[in-house]
């Protein structure tokens, strides 16, 4: 396990546009078999990073490795083991769904026809339909079929479900779970950049939040939900001398307290219990709320 190369690894990746660095020293390590979330505001450097992973852009400095290979030097080897679904998908308008899949398959060493049939069926895609007549949702579905049937080891998704209706979004996520991880789930890596974080919540094992082209937080999803909690406490009388280290955004309303713990909620809960609260409730933040809290606080919480 440990001598296996990372599915994706960047070291001090920098990509400059004009005078500014869209990606500014980003180091990522995505283990094989993980489903990895890549979150950040618009303009944080997510798409630029992904384009560097795919050799669509050359890094200004730093390095990129996919499955241990350099995508600039071993372009063919990397591309045969990776698939990519961007947010806006373009196909040749004169081709039908069938033609398009045949065309995509012609570049691939492998093509799983059983998976193709299953997905076309699930998405109710008509193979005789012209690509120019497909809706945005159907184009994304077709791109996903093309990506999954090639049985790549790494599936890179860049805002794949933005602008799609909720049913198509659901089916998209289910197809990634059901069809992409079909074979050996431990060997199928997903790297997904998205703003629709709730959609992917159950799928994400680990994530990185980037801002200004830099990593501000990398955590396992379970650990993040354990660490980031919203705590509500109510006391019989306003507690005197209650200190709350490690609590963010504390709101006090007389004998009521509300706060977000971002480091050690259990220590905070013990501290609150010591003042015998009438009510004490803690719940985890969702990944989306964690991303918002991290970006709004403006600083990394290491």
């Amino acid at each position: 396990m440990s001598d296996q190369p990372f599915a994706i690894e960047t070291r001090e990746l920098v990509r400059r546009f004009g005078h500014s660095n869209a990606v500014n020293g980003l180091s990522l390590r995505v283990r094989r078999g993980r489903c990895y979330g890549f979150f950040g505001r618009n303009g944080a450097g997510k798409t630029t990073t992904i384009k560097c992973l795919l050799n669509l852009l050359r890094p200004t400095s730093g390095s990129v490795r996919i499955l241990g290979l350099d995508p600039a030097r071993d372009e063919v080897a990397v591309k045969s083991r990776v698939a990519y679904v961007p947010d806006a998908v373009a196909f040749y308008p004169w081709m039908t769904v069938r033609d398009t899949l045949d065309y995509l398959a012609s570049f691939r060493p492998r093509w799983n026809e059983a998976v193709e049939r299953g997905l076309l069926d699930r998405f109710r895609l008509d193979t005789r339909q012209k690509a120019s007549h497909l809706s945005k949702g159907q184009r994304t579905q077709l791109a996903l079929v093309g990506a999954i049937c090639a049985e790549p080891e790494v599936l890179i998704l860049d805002e794949p479900t933005s602008g799609l209706d909720p049913i198509i979004r659901r089916e998209f996520v289910e197809a990634v779970i059901g069809a992409f991880q079909e074979r050996d789930a431990g060997d199928r890596t997903v790297f997904v950049s998205t703003h629709l974080i709730a959609e992917f919540e159950g799928l994400i094992d680990e994530f990185t939040i980037i801002d200004g082209g830099r990593d501000v937080l990398t955590l396992e999803a379970d650990a993040a939900r354990e660490r980031y909690q919203k705590i509500y406490a109510r006391f019989a009388v306003e507690p005197a001398g209650l200190e709350l280290p490690g609590a963010q955004t504390i709101r006090r309303r007389g004998r009521e307290l509300e706060m977000v713990a971002s480091t050690d909620p259990s220590a905070l809960l013990d501290r609150l219990r010591a003042h015998s609260p009438e009510a004490l409730v803690a719940e985890s933040l969702s990944l989306e709320e964690i991303v918002v809290a991290t970006l709004q606080s403006g600083a990394a919480v290491a």
Partner: protein, 137 residues
């Protein structure tokens, strides 16, 4: 057996699955020899990673709650923990300690606590007696 996940509980997702299967087996909602849902449809239904379900099942197997039969899937085992009784009691004591701590903070005394424990025990027994048609609230 119904499985539900709560991403706000702060408990790792795979552990939620482990605990729900254990609770369902204790309450008779799923009985010896009955199959668990297979990994793929359950993962799709719960919209979680397949590795998460696989990890939960692996843990349940190591706890002796389920057994996996090659090519057939996972089944609830006859209630037989692989641990010796003193180990089992020690494991249980850890959970009871937590409940006792909680009782202290909720100002629930020993007598009430023991009565409640007996009551819950009966309730699970009753559930198993009624084929586990009802859920333990």
């Amino acid at each position: 057996m119904r499985m539900r996940l709560n991403f706000r509980s702060g408990k790792p997702v795979y552990l939620q699955l482990v605990d729900q299967v254990k609770a369902a087996a204790a309450a008779g909602a799923i009985r010896e020899g009955e199959p668990l849902p297979s990994i793929r449809p359950l993962a799709e239904e719960l919209r979680v990673n397949r590795n998460t379900v696989a990890k939960a099942y692996a843990q349940l197997e190591s706890l002796g709650v389920i057994e996996s039969v090659a090519g057939k899937g996972c089944f609830i085992r006859k209630n037989g923990s692989p641990y010796r009784k003193d180990v089992r009691l020690k494991l249980l004591a850890e959970d009871i300690d937590q409940a006792v701590t909680q009782a202290h903070h909720l100002q629930v005394g020993k007598a009430d606590f023991l009565r409640l424990a007996a009551d819950r025990f009966d309730r699970f027994d009753h559930q198993r007696g009624t084929n586990g048609r009802q859920e333990v609230p």
